[in-house]
């Protein structure tokens, strides 16, 4: 059982994701996380401002429960199922990130430069989190889904729209890392 405390290899993780999608389909639901952001907007009263948020959010309660589970799962995995949660990325990537100012590369799970409490007094770091989060929320709803809804669920159903969305995800990611990162870091 020691393997469980190590980072899971791709050939365990990928099938687990397919299994999670299978379970959700078999209980009559679907695998898609970003629609929860819309549900949360509706709960906060966004329906008063835009037609898009006028729907019966209670029909999506099940997915909010999945989100609650995902939070609990993160707590369990980091506290009870990990010895040392540093991510062993490619040494070339580590060098590259260090040259961009990410000294924590290769020795942390997330860059401490962005996800330590110190970020709350670092305008640039905060801006990265805010802009990044905003684009994820805006883009996911614009594209009608995110990594789970399009790249896993949609592509598994051989949906052409999902393929177009996934091409978009990668174009956006490549533009950010290769063209924009050198300008901002």
């Amino acid at each position: 059982m020691d393997w469980i405390f190590e980072p899971w290899p791709w050939y365990v993780s990928g099938p687990m994701i397919a299994f999670i999608m299978f379970l959700l389909i078999m209980v009559g639901k679907s695998f898609g996380m970003s629609s929860n952001l819309r549900t949360m907007c509706t709960i906060c009263g966004a329906g008063n401002k835009a037609e898009f948020f006028k729907f019966d959010w209670k029909s999506q309660k099940w997915n909010l429960v999945v989100v609650l589970g995902a939070i609990i799962g993160g707590f369990i995995a980091s506290n009870y199922l990990s010895n040392d949660a540093m991510v062993a990325i490619n040494p070339n990537t580590v060098e590259d990130l260090k040259s961009l100012g990410f000294e924590s590369a290769g020795s942390a799970y997330l860059p401490t430069e962005l996800f330590d409490f110190a970020v709350f007094s670092d305008i640039k770091g905060l801006l990265v989190l805010v802009v990044g989060g905003f684009l994820v929320g805006f883009g996911a709803r614009y594209a009608g889904g995110c990594t789970s809804g399009h790249a896993i669920s949609g592509l598994s159903d051989l949906q052409l729209p999902s393929l177009i969305a996934v091409v978009g995800f990668f174009l956006g990611g490549l533009i950010m890392i290769h063209l924009i990162f050198p300008l901002i870091f």
């Binding site: 609990i72 989060g133 950010m176």
Partner: protein, 137 residues
């Protein structure tokens, strides 16, 4: 009872996201640098199995665990919304290093600054809702 099932599926999902390192900002960066097979292996193997599962359920008309029919709703045909929306998403995915599932998992793992990302993602969703009729779809 069904609620408990959703909760357990969510917990398994959260554990998988954290342990697979798909929730790590570093893995996302490394993926877009093409310097590791890890993320491609995860998405690729999930997809190969996912296609087999979904096509199998469709062809064999498998019923849900509760004996109900399973329906898959096809997505509306369009290019603009998926490509433009997808690019916006990708820009954010690479910058924040988290997509809408792992964001929540990382809160559970104790990375509280991720709350900033979540609030911003809610704001992004809200702004999309306001602008929806003016955007090309």
């Amino acid at each position: 009872m069904r609620t408990l099932v959703y909760l357990i599926i969510g917990i398994v999902f959260g554990i998988t996201m954290f342990k697979s390192e798909a929730a790590s900002w570093f893995r996302i960066y490394e993926m877009f640098k093409f310097e590791s097979f890890h993320m491609y292996g995860i998405i690729g193997s999930a997809l190969v199995l996912g296609i087999i599962v979904v096509q199998g359920i469709k062809r064999l008309r498998v019923k849900s665990f509760y004996g109900e029919d399973i329906s898959f709703c096809p997505k509306n045909k369009s290019v603009a919304r998926y490509l433009i929306g997808g690019i916006f998403f990708g820009l954010g995915w690479a910058l924040a290093g988290a997509c809408p599932g792992p964001m929540f998992t990382l809160i559970g793992a104790g990375f509280l600054p991720m709350l900033v990302v979540i609030v911003a993602a809610l704001l992004g969703t809200y702004i999309y809702g306001l602008l929806r009729d003016k955007l090309p779809h």
